[in-house]
């Protein structure tokens, strides 16, 4: 690549290199200054401040009152916290397996059949839409009265379904909606992983008379493991933090059936102004996610050797 550098502009009167070097650490700080301000004010400070708030009782108006670990004790005792965690896990269990298996199959299909950037572009359209738009679209499509899905289901023996409006169906519906949103994108990630597998491995397998299915189970899947682990773990971590779809589509209802963890935290912070309790719960969520990250690191290490 050509670099548009005009030589003349770079020639400045020579200064003493020693002096430049002794000052160079200040230049380094100058370069990171804006990022450091952003980091300290909006990452480091809030993380520590959050920890501090989690030990207080605070409604934003009066002074925060120190309550020690009372918030954390309440978390453990709060049936609504456990129910929110349970609903979140239920969502993850609906969302992740379906999403991963479908994306993997789609990626294999793409790998075999598609070179076209156009097709890949079409497949990631849902991913480009915000969660709010996606929730809105499916609220309409699944509307009990006029939604096209129910209009069509009415013509079949299945009949109309309540989807978001039923305590049983709401979480699976939200999960399926997010499968729709993420399927193409995750397939793209798997596809990139498939492209990295040397074709010679497949040729060798074909010469050895390996069947398609055999090749998939014995070669493709194991060699894809690092990508699979990455996609799985980042999706799980993302799924645990589901909020937007719930906030727009169901607002936690019907009858709290979709009150997932982040929505419950949000309610406590900005609905009941229980900042201390809300941050304590968010710290617990953080701990759960760290646990997942540690598992991810172990699994990734386990998956490293396959291609080497």
């Amino acid at each position: 690549m050509t670099v548009p550098v005009q030589r003349e502009t770079l020639v400045v009167p020579a200064r003493a290199p020693a002096r430049r070097r002794s000052l160079s650490w200040m230049v380094g700080y100058l370069f990171i200054l804006p990022a450091i301000i952003g980091f300290v004010v909006f990452y480091l400070y809030p993380a520590l401040r959050g920890l501090q708030i989690s030990f207080t009782d605070w409604n934003l108006l009066s002074e925060p009152k120190n309550v020690g670990i009372a918030n954390y004790q309440e978390v453990v005792r709060d049936p609504r916290f456990w129910s929110a965690l349970g609903i979140t896990v239920k969502y993850v269990l609906w969302n992740i397996p379906l999403q991963t298996i479908l994306s993997l199959l789609l990626a294999v299909a793409m790998d075999r059949l598609v070179k076209s950037m156009f097709v890949k572009g079409l497949l990631i359209v849902p991913y480009l839409l915000s969660n709010v738009l996606v929730a809105m679209i499916f609220l309409w499509m699944l509307d009990p009265l006029l939604g096209i899905v129910n209009q069509w289901l009415d013509l079949t023996p299945i009949g109309k379904q309540p989807f978001f409006n039923s305590a049983e169906q709401a979480i699976p519906t939200i999960a399926l909606v997010n499968v729709w949103k993420h399927m193409g994108f995750n397939a793209l990630l798997f596809y990139a992983g498939l492209q990295a597998i040397p074709r010679t491995v497949y040729e060798a397998a074909a010469i050895d008379g390996s069947s398609e299915a055999n090749t998939f189970w014995r070669i493709t899947l194991p060699l894809l493991r690092p990508v699979t682990v990455f996609v799985l773990v980042t999706s799980v971590i993302g799924s645990f933090q589901i909020f937007d779809t719930v906030a727009v589509a169901t607002a936690g209802g019907p009858a709290d059936a979709t009150k997932v963890l982040v929505y419950y935290i949000y309610q406590n912070a900005f609905g009941f102004f229980r900042m201390g309790y809300a941050t304590a719960m968010s710290m617990v969520l953080f701990a759960i996610l760290i646990l997942f990250t540690l598992v991810q690191m172990r699994l990734l290490r386990a998956g490293e050797s396959d291609l080497d």
């Binding site: 070179k115 399927m183 941050t279």
Partner: protein, 306 residues
């Protein structure tokens, strides 16, 4: 620039022994594409439907009398009476203003975050200063903190600064950096050859000149990747603007749409208006895909291979 290893596609695998499997795969792929795009067609179809035909044509795939009235009313181009006659609730949200806010919100963050993160990444990759590696490690650790942990204290900070309902309040947590952006650009800068920079240094160029005239121009690909990922993420960001923007004047599109929906009185929501608003909100990402298709796809694919 080759963030995705696509070089090996040129080789052809041996001929498939199962044409039936191939046929099934084509069918499955076509089906998935249809499923991916069908909801978007329904959005457009509904947005083009008049509120009266909404009831009679709910099951049809095509609006019998296409009309632009819904787009006009969500963009505030018709009078209140006309809007109400077309099924609006009267308490419409100004999507044009929200679009402007979204563009400012996303644009400022893309520019700021990309540039400031590049500066920091350059320092972490090339300059020496005390505490460099320790600070960078802190950045890496921070990548794991979930949004909700940060949002509550950040909301309090912004509130104390008196920045609720303002653009500064909305962009502040994102505009200066994200740990991921710094991490990603540092990895790339480390891979650049040092020779050009050293030659410039010998010619007397300072670090900022080298950064601005050599490193940045050599990094257009990764910078574009980062800008695209940031643009998509911020255009779609809901939680933070939702917390900060409580006045209609500062709504971004996702917030405006949520508010428009929740304003709907009991009974039948204003679906045709909602779908017109939804379509309007999605137009920019469609344009991004149409004009930068390959780049967008590669950027997204990259985001999974870091």
């Amino acid at each position: 620039m080759t963030t995705v290893p696509t070089t090996q596609t040129a080789h052809h695998r041996p001929r498939k022994p199962f044409p039936l499997g191939r046929l099934l795969a084509y069918l499955a792929l076509t089906l998935v594409i249809l499923i991916s795009l069908f909801p978007i067609w329904i959005v457009l179809k509904t947005a083009l439907t008049g509120s009266r035909s909404l009831f009679t044509e709910a099951a049809s795939l095509w609006p019998s009398e296409p009309t632009l009235i819904n787009f006009k009313r969500v963009l505030g181009l018709v009078s209140l009476e006309e809007a109400q006659a077309a099924g609006g609730s009267g308490s419409a949200v100004n999507f044009l203003a929200a679009m402007k806010n979204s563009v400012i919100f996303t644009g400022l963050i893309v520019l700021g975050q990309t540039f400031f993160s590049a500066m920091a990444a350059y320092a972490f990759a090339r300059l020496k200063f005390p505490g460099r590696d320790a600070i960078f490690t802190l950045f890496l650790v921070a990548m794991m903190i979930p949004g909700i942990v940060l949002f509550i204290p950040n909301f309090i900070t912004i509130k104390n600064l008196g920045w609720l309902n303002t653009i500064p309040g909305m962009v502040a947590p994102f505009i200066l950096m994200t740990p991921f952006a710094v991490f990603f650009l540092r990895q790339f800068f480390l891979s650049l050859p040092r020779e050009t920079e050293e030659a410039a240094f010998l010619d007397g160029a300072g670090p900022f000149t080298i950064f601005w005239r050599i490193t940045l121009p050599m990094s257009q690909g990764p910078l574009a990747t980062l800008a695209i990922l940031t643009a998509i993420g911020m255009w779609n960001e809901f939680f933070w603007p939702f917390l900060i923007a409580k006045d209609e004047a500062s709504f971004t599109l996702p917030v405006a749409l949520q508010v428009f929906k929740s304003q709907t009185p009991q009974g039948v929501p204003d679906w045709t208006g909602l779908m017109a608003g939804t379509f309007v909100a999605a137009i920019p990402v469609f344009l991004l895909l149409v004009f930068l298709g390959r780049r967008v796809v590669e950027s997204l694919a990259f985001s999974g291979t870091k």
